[in-house]
Amino acid sequence: MKLITVAGPPSSGKTSVIIKTAEHLKKSVGKIGVVKFDCLSTTDHAVYARAGIPVVTGISGNLCPDHFFVSNIDDCVQWAKGKGFDMLISESAGLCNRCSPHIKNVLAVCVIDNLAGADTPQKIGPMLRYADIVTVTKGDIVSQAEREVFSFRVRQANPKASVVFINGITGQGAYDLSHSFMRSTDVDTLEGAKLRFSVPAAICPYCVGEMTIGVDHQKGNVKKMSFQEVSA
């Protein structure tokens, strides 16, 4: 099963990007599932359900969303495998710019929007700097000049990533992204897999710099998800 992690600041258009990309993927990939990580509440599961995409939600509550993500992402993989999915896409909001949810050897996507201002690519940390693909949204409402400056700044912040512009409303550009999703590698388990960069500090092993995923490393203040699917 292919796994893709999508992260980005709140309201940057992650859900729209995933749904528009999934429309293209449906033709070539079999079953696609989404796991949505959020902090307090989310209504995006209804949006996914309407688009015909199976989704589960994980709410981190008072925990650092990144720590919650690391403690649960392998469970998500096992759930998705049990469901017979061919691709699992995780969506998580990067709330502080120090967020770092990307995993080595797992395709990592960062979604940011053009409205965030020209300095934003420099301000966002590992979430952007360690991503394989940076997706830029809301280009339809800013000038061509601002789009060009923005993409230059993104390249400066992460010269190794490819930059894809997507219009979340019309889906323009989503075909390009779906092409990259297809090239992601298969994942069987994340047990032992490594994060690309340590997550922000907070009171479990991950708070003090643990980077290995797995049950043995989940001690202290660990919170697990319940896998309840929502139907349309």
């Binding site: 201002g117 061509q144 390249r155 075909y175």
Partner: protein
Amino acid sequence: MSADLLNIPFAVITDEHPYAEDYFKSVNITDFDTELTPNEIISSLDDNELAENGFSKDQIASHFIEFIAQASMLKQTAFRAVESITIIGGQDKSGRKEDMELTLVPGDILCIVGSTGSGKSRLLADIECFAQEDTPTGRTILVNGKPLIGEDRFRLENKLVAQLSQNMNFVVDMSVGDFITMHAVSRMIPDIESTVKNVIACANDLAGEQFTPETALTQLSGGQSRALMIADTALLSSSPVVLIDEIENAGVDRKKALELLVQKEKIVLMSTHDPILALMGNRRIAIKNGGIAAVMETDDEEADTLEVLEILDAKMMELRQRLRAGERIGFDMKKYFGLK
């Protein structure tokens, strides 16, 4: 570009790559001895402090090499030219074949007409992603007579299309001069100062009302913003193809705007409902039910039509000017428009 770069004194690197310093600034490294090499500068940094800010030494070093490589490539390809773009038909929403092939060369203006939802944006999207019979329309787009295949198709360097639409606004809070300078810097233009001057002069020529480099972007009127966007796209954007979604009539000399783009050897595709704009193109295509229903050359009769429409347009413009000047316009309109 290789790891050797890390062992060359910084001052030597900046001679050839002035943007190198910009990269270090972007990762919060300022105030260093330029006689040192990047390796020496990076290894003197504090690991803990870097981690706190989400950086690491390895990453800064490898990104630096990559950035310099990409930036020098960008500089070489600052203004790319395409010889032609070819659209090969696919099918419409009901599966009816579009039996057409259309080649556009620099200086061409192709207008796209059709009702809302007919599939105009889909055609523009096909061009933007160089469709290879793999989009819903099944169209193929060729560049210089050949398909772009494999990874080439998705590289940002190969993105050929600049877009201009009525919904676009400037969102940054800067002066016009600073903003255009920022754009020129990111485009690796050699002569920044005169380019910036040129863009602003051009924009002022397109807009009725003048603005200066000190004017804030947010203070520009709708017409001035549009004029600046057009001038900037014509003179500063690397994209050889410009997609325009309607240019409103107020405050911009549309004819001059199109002439400027054509003169800069752009291929212009413009979706419009306006008869004047539609006839300004050499050709137009009509879109119906997601498919290209007709390709029409602007003929001699239509050229005559355009002449009359332009006279009427000028008269409308004059009425606007009078309104603006606080005058009354209750005089004999039938006579004014030559209707009797």
